[in-house]
């Protein structure tokens, strides 16, 4: 058997959108392996989500257990191993969300499988070589996993969401989770009225050019309000403590690919560009005409942001 198992991500009963981007990759992988696509639902009280997931494959394996209420890598990796065996899967895939990045290598160790992280897609029309970014996105490596079982995480912004079809089978999966050495203490959700950065249609990012922390609420937020945009930031301003950590766009932060991206007062360090160059349309506003950000921007405005951003807000 050479089926493909998609590890889904369920948060507060809802399936995360990134899961469906991983299904799209899995559908292609199943064509190549000659097997089918099956899904794995992990959590506590997730019957409804599992029923929805069944529409995306031949079967959904459901590990519904109070011990799985929170996404602990130690517990989830064991379930993924059991799920892969139950599904007869030789490819195990999950979206490269923070949870996917955390748990999948651990699952790969339990499966004795080689793993390719954060992949962009297949490298050719057949076979299993995949492309992935290395060196902060400056180089694309083509890699081959040599083990029979292959573990893969997919970069969500590189794949469209799969569409549902006829519902497959729902199968219970029970896994012994005794003796866990990790305790889930709490989750502090960052509450925001804005769309989440990785899912927003428009992203407005600010950098050092804003000069001080107070200019985020003064200039970036009103512009984001006008466009119902998510707000991002360069690493420099995150490190300076102007904005929270989870707003960093870049290879080491969030990778975004919105329809419209505004880089305001951002020079365009390699690190930052790696996290946003997949955006459909990029606008850069910077007073330095030589800033590297202009080399990748569709529309560059060389100007003092303190003059043009208020004007933009007024005219939108």
């Amino acid at each position: 058997m050479s089926n493909v198992l998609v590890v889904s991500e369920i948060s507060e009963g809802a399936i995360k959108g990134a899961t469906f981007t991983a299904v799209t990759f899995a559908n292609e992988a199943a064509k190549r392996s000659g097997g089918n696509v099956q899904l794995l639902a992990i959590g506590s009280g997730i019957g409804e989500a599992a029923g929805e997931l069944a529409k995306y494959g031949a079967a959904v394996h459901v590990a519904d257990d109070a011990a799985l209420a929170n996404p602990l890598a130690e517990a989830y990796a064991k379930v993924i191993k059991a799920g892969a065996e139950a599904a007869g899967a030789t490819v195990v895939v999950m979206a490269a969300t923070s949870h996917g990045k955390d748990v999948m290598p651990r699952a790969a160790a339990l499966l004795g499988a080689g793993m390719a992280s954060d992949i962009l897609g297949f490298a050719g029309d057949e076979g299993f070589a995949v492309r992935r970014p290395v060196q902060a996105g400056n180089v694309i490596a083509t890699v081959e996993i040599t083990t029979d079982t292959k573990v893969i995480t997919t970069r969500p912004t590189e794949f469209d969401a799969a569409q549902p079809g006829d519902a497959g089978e729902v199968k219970a999966l029970s896994v012994d989770l005794g003796g866990l050495k990790t305790e889930y203490v709490k989750f502090d959700k960052i509450e925001s009225e804005r769309p989440e950065l990785t899912e927003a249609r428009v992203v407005i990012s600010g950098g050092r050019g804003l000069k001080e922390a107070g200019n985020f609420p003064a200039l970036i937020e009103p512009l984001a309000d006008k466009l119902n945009a998510g707000i991002g930031a360069s690493r420099a301003v995150v490190d300076a403590g102007w904005v929270p950590n989870d707003m960093q766009v870049g290879q080491t932060g969030k990778v975004v690919a919105p329809e419209l991206y505004f880089a305001i007062g951002i020079s365009g360090a390699i690190q930052h560009v790696a996290g946003m160059k997949g955006s459909k349309t990029i606008v850069a506003i910077n007073k330095d005409p030589d800033a590297p950000i202009f080399q990748i921007a569709d529309y560059g405005l060389v100007a003092d942001l303190f003059k043009v951003v208020p004007e933009l807000i007024e005219k939108l």
């Binding site: 999948m104 651990r106 050495k181 989750f187 349309t281 529309y299």
Partner: protein, 262 residues
């Protein structure tokens, strides 16, 4: 407590690396090499924990003889001794299984690693090691205090260790998660955990006298053949520079009529 930290020698992440014309590899001749920046954060965290709780910090690296420089850097920051496993470039899985041997030999209470190396960006070794050892893990360790806060300036550790457990704040999508791990455990560092110190001149002098044990990779009895093989390197698709606009009105016009995104 005994803390093992890992340091990888990587190409300078602020310089663009060149690809061999036939795509078979990366051209590293003339490149500057540095310690993986996430690993410097790991060394810093280990030093702060050792200062707060007493104990020893051991720096381990796997790589060529040249990686001695990066181990010495960790020793100059204040770590006690080093271990270098001499080997060619390996995939994360082989690295994790070699580290498993080192851990079984050294028996640390805590292993702190960078969340990813800035050359292959795999973000796997820590989680793989935790899986092989069946130890609890907390990846992407962070803290609430900002890097310009007084708490950070006082070099307080972000990871809390008490009663045989480590409590770790993690950066995850949409918020911050707190996990409590039973020691021994694996922690991997994110960027905001701390600001690593520079090695002082006396630190550098002292580091020269500290032990760096060299181990031949073959002596550890681990099959290091690659589970993941890179077969080609290529430039990412080039994004063309667009146009410069004169003013806000022209920009809005282009966004509405040309890009049709407004």
């Amino acid at each position: 407590m005994k803390i093992l930290v890992t340091v990888k020698r990587v190409t300078d992440y602020e310089r663009k690396v060149k690809i061999a014309p036939d795509g078979s590899g990366l051209v590293t001749d003339g490149m500057n090499f540095v310690a993986n920046p996430f690993d410097e954060i790991a060394v810093e965290e280990a030093l702060r924990l050792a200062k707060a709780h007493g104990g020893e910090v051991v720096v381990a690296s796997i790589g060529s003889k040249d990686a001695t420089q990066q181990i010495r850097q960790g020793l100059a920051m204040g770590a006690n001794r080093g271990i270098l496993v001499l080997s060619d470039e390996l995939d994360p899985d082989a690295v994790a299984r070699l580290l498993q041997k080192i851990v079984e030999d050294e028996q640390p209470d805590l292993v702190i690693m960078g969340k990813q190396a800035t050359d292959d960006d795999a973000n796997q070794a820590g989680q793989l090691l935790a899986g092989y050892l069946d130890w609890p893990q907390a990846t992407f360790a962070s803290k609430t205090a900002a890097l310009d806060s007084d708490e950070e300036k006082a070099q307080k550790p972000g990871v809390e260790v008490a009663d045989g457990h480590a409590t770790v704040l993690r950066e995850v999508d949409g918020g911050l998660e707190t996990l409590k791990l039973k020691l021994p455990a694996i922690v991997t560092t994110d960027l905001r955990l701390n600001h690593p110190r520079f090695a002082s001149l006396p630190g550098i002098m002292k580091a020269k006298k500290k032990e760096v044990k060299e181990i031949a990779v073959d002596s550890l009895g681990v099959d290091v053949s690659a589970k993941v093989r890179t077969v080609k390197y290529a430039e990412p698709p080039e994004r063309q520079a667009g146009v410069k606009v004169e003013d806000v009105d022209e920009l809005l016009g282009k966004l509405k009529n040309e890009a049709k995104v407004l």
